[in-house]
């Protein structure tokens, strides 16, 4: 027992890690987040059973199920709320900031006269600019390549999905007022974008001739505050 226990511990840890990784892999290709979320439930459930059952021989069963319990709850966690009924129209001029699920990227969306500009940025490697239209509380915008942004307005708040570089996330954003919003600075060689949220937190990146770099500090006096179709 003294000798076997640590091996069982190692095995259970590796097993749990592997299962979580597989669940992640199963969930990631999200062309439609809703479809993915509904797919995961049946996938995760059978995977769950061996996790708790396998180490039954060893003393680690309780440990495995203790850690498995929060995981069981995971699939339903990120249920996206989309397609709100009877969406209200957008204000003539509005700014929204928010973040993607998991808080990995910040997003700023501006709407003016039904024109949309938006910027997604994780401050490290992911960024995307989007332009499009907003009508009847729904917005649709596209960016470079297959990058796409959709959103709908519910009780003044904006939520939807955004994709960049082949990956997609759900996001939620709330209306903000200046100085929060979307900022951009263009030079001869590149473009820098910043998202400034209502707490004053700034997330930005620079694209210098196709290479993504950390953004310089945001100076709201010199950077352009982007509005609508700017």
């Amino acid at each position: 027992m003294r000798i076997r226990g640590p091996f069982i511990t190692l095995f259970v840890v590796a097993l749990l890690g592997g299962i979580l990784l597989l669940v992640n892999l199963a969930r990631t290709p999200t062309d439609s987040t809703q479809a993915a979320a509904s797919n995961v439930a049946p996938v995760a459930a059978p995977v769950q059973a061996p996790a708790a059952g396998a180490p039954a021989a060893g003393a680690s069963a309780a440990g495995a199920s203790a850690a498995a319990a929060p995981k069981a709850a995971a699939p339903g966690a990120a249920a996206p709320k989309a397609d709100a009924p009877a969406a209200a129209p957008f204000p003539a001029n509005a700014r929204y900031t928010g973040h993607t699920d998991g808080n990995t990227s910040a997003i700023a969306i501006t709407v003016k006269d039904n024109k949309v500009s938006a910027y997604l940025c994780d401050g490290k490697v992911i960024e995307g600019w989007y332009k499009g239209n907003a009508t009847d509380g729904k917005l649709n915008a596209t960016g470079k390549g297959t990058n796409q942004l959709t959103g709908s307005l519910t009780d003044g708040k904006l939520s939807g999905t955004v994709s960049a570089g082949g990956r997609s996330w759900t996001y939620a954003a709330v209306p903000v007022s200046a100085p929060a919003g979307l900022y951009r600075a263009k030079t001869a060689t590149g473009t820098t974008g910043w998202v400034k949220d209502s707490n004053g937190q700034v997330t930005g990146l620079s694209d210098e001739a196709g290479t993504v770099k950390p953004a310089p500090p945001l100076d709201t006096n010199t950077a352009q505050a982007v509005e609508g179709g700017d």
Partner: protein
């Protein structure tokens, strides 16, 4: 105690092969006694396994393109907070580990429940960290864009390497007595370091809530 000098499990080991007969010649700085001591090979195998695990985690974290997305846990405002609280629980259990180990090594023999407590608090602590590290590796990756992030990435690799070495140490006979407490100390230090550079940082920057 003609023990070789202490070698913490290096996340970037220079030798990955598991202890050949003469591991000495390749390492000029290594003042290991030139004996065909099976103990030396035993130590090397145990530590090298941890090094390999640490290295593999780091390489995966670096090469795998971060998805920025991972399965979330219910009941938390975001994945980051779920991770922070799991890590906090693990750190608390780490403190239990420290004190139970202290009693076990105090001499004079510890009551049986102390070793049981040590064993189970350790198991649960490591299992709690698994969802966290999967999210870290899968969604975020090994990054170095700030000192905090670099230290966190390195400690994460060190933690699991030390964990593997420590589990293997438990299963092997004839290892020097210092290995277990040293590896345990590395584990505890790494865990607290990881917690400070992630959960405490998050609570500090974004507030203490769930």
């Amino acid at each position: 105690m003609s023990t070789p000098p202490f070698q913490p499990p290096d996340p970037y080991p220079t030798q990955q092969s598991a202890g050949p007969a003469q591991p000495v010649g390749t390492q000029p700085v290594d003042a290991r006694p030139r004996t065909s001591d099976p103990k030396a090979a035993n130590i090397l195998v145990t530590l090298a396994a941890g090094c390999v695990v640490a290295l593999l985690l780091g390489v995966y974290g670096r090469l795998h393109e971060p998805t920025g997305y991972s399965v979330n846990l219910i009941g938390f405002s975001s994945g980051a907070y779920a991770k922070a609280w799991l890590a906090t629980l693990a750190a608390l259990l780490g403190v239990v580990q420290l004190f139970s180990a202290r009693i076990m090594y105090s001499g004079g023999g510890a009551p049986a429940w102390v070793s049981t407590l040590h064993r189970w608090s350790g198991r649960i602590a490591v299992l709690l960290t698994v969802p966290v590290v999967v999210h870290c590796l899968y969604a975020l990756g090994f990054e170095a864009y700030s000192p905090r992030v670099l230290v966190h990435s390195l400690l994460g690799c060190l933690f699991y390497g030390a964990f593997v070495s420590k589990m293997l140490t438990l299963t092997r006979r004839g290892l020097p007595g210092w290995m277990l407490p040293v590896l345990g100390g590395v584990l505890f230090t790494a865990l607290i370091g990881l917690w400070l550079t992630s959960a405490v940082w998050l609570f500090d920057v974004k507030g203490l809530h769930s």
